[in-house]
Symmetry: C2
Subunit: 340 residues, 2 copies
């Protein structure tokens, strides 16, 4: 409770503050005898250095921020876990900020980080972010940033993603192989590169298998769940309806399941579903959901590693780099070709 500082320690030992400081940092300038005494006394008095004093002095806070759209998303949580593991190893602390997919909140958060509160940032941009001055400002301020998943091509730095195009291609092809002829794509946002790439994969697969691309089957969803339900319902209930759905994110697959449940659409008989997802319960759903699983933990891990590597070198400029960690497809009941 006493908040012991170096001065207290110095007084108690009858030596100078600098000697105490150096002794504790094991400086060559200090004799072994003194070091031992200081360390013992520090232990005894329960000394623990004031972090902010050091930060002020060194202009380094041993803290990073993770900025992401939302927490209620298994992918992001696993990514945080991955980053946290590395951070803990390196003695870094993690500040969490969520943007709620709101561009303005994202900007406000980054502005708050400009003042040196953190040494670096891990970030997944919000889905409606289309301008990047606030991100550039951060880099200009000497705070390195590493993107993961929802990246910003326009910014030169390290970016960790999964093989979105190939996965999108594979997912779509899997639906085709399962017998689907009319495949819809549920898009999360046209601004996001991951969405764009997944959609490109989808289109490419349709092309390869000579399936005419139907613009009505590309559904622009949003963060508004109610509107998504309406859109998916309209898609699935009308006369012109798909026999397969490729959901770009987990949330949209669940919404699809919900809509199907309330409207008695049977998966996989009436509709096959595949989705990007890190859901633990994918296997336990009714029916079990065929997923493309991103290695979220590894992605968070890798992003943090790269950031810390540069922070250790005091290099605030991270060269442009695209790191891809492949996703894995797990085939389950929702795309079972038997039921048709």
């Amino acid at each position: 409770m006493s908040k012991v500082n170096l001065k207290d320690l110095a007084k108690a030992l009858n030596i100078s503050v600098s000697t105490v400081s150096k002794a504790l940092r094991d400086s060559y300038e200090i004799g072994d005898e003194t070091k031992k005494k200081v360390i013992a006394k520090a232990q005894l008095m329960g000394y623990s250095p004031n972090p902010y004093a050091g930060f002020l002095r060194n202009q380094k806070s041993k803290t990073i921020a993770i900025v992401l759209p939302e927490l209620t998303n298994n992918y992001f949580i696993q990514a945080i876990s991955g980053a946290e593991a590395i951070a803990h190893e390196n003695g870094y602390h993690i500040l969490i900020y969520t943007t709620n997919d709101d561009k303005e909140k994202e900007r406000s958060i980054l502005n708050h980080l400009l003042n040196g509160r953190v040494d670096g940032v891990l970030m997944s941009v919000s889905s409606n972010t289309s301008q990047y001055e606030h991100i550039n400002a951060l880099i200009q301020a000497g705070i390195p940033i590493v993107f993961f998943d929802r990246i910003c091509h326009e910014i030169e730095t390290a970016k960790i993603t999964t093989n979105d195009f190939a996965s999108g291609f594979l997912a779509t092809e899997h639906l085709i192989h399962s017998g689907c002829k009319k495949i819809a794509y549920l898009s999360i946002s046209e601004h996001l590169s991951i969405d764009h790439k997944r959609k490109q994969g989808y289109l490419e697969a349709l092309n390869k298998h000579d399936i005419t691309i139907d613009p009505l089957f590309v559904i622009q969803c949003s963060t508004d769940e109610k509107s998504n339900i309406q859109k998916i319902k309209k898609l699935l209930i009308g006369t012109h309806k798909p026999d397969g759905i490729f959901a770009s994110v987990e949330r949209l697959a669940l919404t699809t399941y919900q809509v199907c449940k309330t409207h008695k659409i049977v998966i996989p008989k009436d509709l096959k579903v595949i989705s990007f997802s890190n859901l633990r319960t994918a296997d336990l759903l009714n029916p079990s959901l065929t997923t493309i699983t991103q290695p979220a933990f590894e992605i968070g891990n890798e992003a943090a590693k790269i950031l810390f590597k540069h922070l250790a070198k005091r290099k605030s400029i991270i060269p442009n780099e695209n790191i891809v960690i492949n996703s894995q497809i797990t085939i389950r009941g929702s795309t079972n070709p038997k039921y048709f």
Copy 2:
């Protein structure tokens, strides 16, 4: 990029540092003219105060820590979201630490927080924590702590929980009303008060309905998933098996589902399942899972509110208080009495 500080501003304006500081903080000592000039210049030069300098001076960091066992748990994520919302409103920042349910890691984390890095702590204790010196040390150091969910009765402070006993009672009674005669309880840890209370509710319900309590039906699970699978498998496959399971936490319900799936045990025909859970997919599982849902967001929200209330008053001692926010039971397919 320039890292403008007060001194730079002062020089540019040809006035003193203190005047600039006071002008920016809207002090009565400074004239309106000067204030305007300073604010304009600050804007122009992109001044943003160094947070650590202020922290050092004020001994307040506007930062709190959330310490919890794990992130891959919907309850905790929702609680964080609830706390984050309030924190953002109050201009507080959130550091996240996970203990992995490891007592030693928990202790190490709290020790790191002793030095004043944070102004306060929100915490859910790890399930094997049975001694509390490290928690007391924090309070002794003047850092207030508020518990939520996995609380520590032994520490005097505010604690936010749900009505665990009543919910445990209700859950068990619901199984009984659904026709169960042999009900097992999956315990997460004997050290946790939430587990204890839920179990008490379970026992009380059995008592009320004159069902003999079978010690073999209280299964001590752990954080080791493999061992849990074994225990649940043993429980469900032997000759002396239950017809109902009450899982104290979501994770154990999912493990039960998994075991049932691999061993062709049909829920709810062979076994009925109810669980505490904040799973978004509860309704989409096969079969849909009857849950007791904790108001996780509200609990996190409330915990943060109480902490900030005391931080604002610079009161580091939070009086003992037990706040209970009720859970809600949602009856779904996994306890359907029709199937027997």
